[in-house]
Symmetry: C2
Subunit: 316 residues, 2 copies
């Protein structure tokens, strides 16, 4: 199968690319390298069925050229801004990179008659839900511009499906951790502790409680959903049943670094504006389909900490 | 109160403007007159508290100038493309006029510190729901780009509320009929029958079954919701409990025109791509708040037919 992966040099996109190649597909990665990194594609680059094109989705001429050159069977649209806190100061960050990229991808698919789309959506569309949310939860009032951009993306995916006979697989991710991540709470803590090994400042009260899924589990789930469902619009929460508190992450990081640091909380129930402090996912739908994560939230977090520390050692 | 009404020269926006002026407010209407008409503001123009500015919301300099000149207490954002079928051929019609206008309105509110927004949303965000939808219905997969654009708008309204302390009143309209409407099924039927008075061609099988609300009832409800709720995000379906089939509309138009035309159906369950053939609204939330429509769906449709025929007579 001939596949386009947008954002394929990024954290999740590169793992997806590796897996798609491993399964014998031809993969073209289109990425502007704003957050993605070429080194994430080191393995992929050895495969003759792989091609990388550096470019921005909002550069319509360049993007459409890729569709002209290749006859794609399906698009995996993974490109997005992944630094959710960033767009509080400037909403255009998510408007352009998280939403407009989706709209442009849909326009290109319409133009070139591509009929299948797998989309990286998010739990952030549910906003501050105080219950365990399943896929039919409403109302959808996202707290962050990132969540708004993904909800807007889902909306247009639906209307493009109806108007132009496109089929979509919408997979909604919680926090994702593991190899190749570029930012997030774990990296923040490690960075802080390197500067001040005796004290870790934690934004908020440390009680934020969310599920963290391991990146390879996530990629596995995306492909599982795509291969095992065939509705016009297929939509699934992907995640783990367990959750991890921010204070537990802090403790694990301190432990894995072999430190004896005290933790200082800045207070308040959230780390930044647009943060959702408690979040719980109902995963019945994907469980019924036959998929479960192999790592718990705590295991995924610890694995991610160990990986980052190992990488840091190598780069010394 | 000093109020900005975007799209205030349009069908619904102009009725809203009249009512806001009647209640003693100062109103600035900003409208690009693409669908709106100055004659809709004939009454308003006589009021010293009224001001009209011709301009496009996407012309940021011009739009921001209005915010610079006036110190608004609240924005009623009514501007949108209202011809839902139109964007099947070109999704940008709704992307630009229905969604981007909302995003630009939010950016202007952020820039100028305006903290209150009343928004014209739509039943089209619910897509093809096969049940009576209440305000928490999900998943939200709109069939039209118009619905997608309104859903995208709601998403960003929510994130702007959370990020910048804005308060919003989201009112979701079904089909709206009455004085000053510019298009829709009633006008189509009248136009067709003037050309061929013995035969009316109806797109689809005539069985489409939806609620039609009278425009003055709608405006009454918008203001009622705004005045009687005070959450961060207030969201309500607005409508009538009754519904009207397209074939009934056809019969009423023929009757009111004093004709004896036969009806020919083109077949299929919908009139155009993106149409939702059956739609039913759960109105418990607004009823509990204390508001009910004064006209039934059939009464609203008949009233609208009579008005258009009367207007046509005058313009002869």
């Amino acid at each position: 199968m001939k596949i386009l992966v947008t954002g394929g040099a990024g954290f999740i996109g590169s793992h997806l690319t590796d897996k798609l190649l491993e399964e014998g597909n031809s993969v073209v990665v289109y990425d502007n390298l704003s957050l993605g990194r070429l080194e994430n594609l080191d393995e992929a680059s050895k495969n003759p069925n792989f091609k990388f094109v550096e470019g921005d989705i909002l550069d319509r001429e360049k993007f459409w050229n890729v569709f002209k050159t290749h006859n794609f069977d399906i698009v995996f649209h993974m490109a997005a801004n992944s630094d959710i806190a960033k767009s509080h100061a400037n909403p255009d960050v998510d408007f352009d990179n998280t939403f407009k990229t989706t709209y442009e991808t849909l326009l290109a698919m319409k133009e070139f008659g591509i009929k299948k789309l797998v989309f990286a959506s998010t739990s952030a569309i549910y906003g501050e839900a105080h219950v365990s949310v399943d896929e039919t939860y409403g109302p959808l009032f996202p707290a962050s511009h990132y969540g708004a951009s993904k909800l807007a993306s889902e909306g247009f995916i639906a209307s493009f499906c109806e108007n132009y006979g496109i089929q979509a697989w919408i997979t909604r991710f919680p926090n994702v951790v593991g190899e190749r991540s570029t930012h997030g709470v774990i990296r923040d803590f490690i960075k802080k502790l390197k500067k001040t090994p005796d004290c870790l400042e934690v934004l908020g009260n440390g009680m934020q409680y969310k599920p963290y899924v391991y990146v390879k589990d996530l990629v596995d789930a995306i492909l599982f959903v795509w291969k095992n469902t065939d509705d016009k619009i297929n939509y699934f929460n992907i995640g783990v049943e367990t959750r991890t508190r921010v204070k537990e992450i802090a403790q694990m990081v301190i432990e894995e670094m072999g430190l004896n640091a005290r933790i200082e909380y800045t207070g308040g129930d959230r780390g930044w504006v647009g943060d959702v402090p408690e979040f719980s996912y109902n995963l019945d739908k994907i469980h019924k389909l036959g998929w479960k994560a192999s790592y718990t939230s705590n295991e995924a977090v610890r694995k991610a900490i160990q990986y980052i520390l190992e990488m840091d050692k190598c780069s010394l």
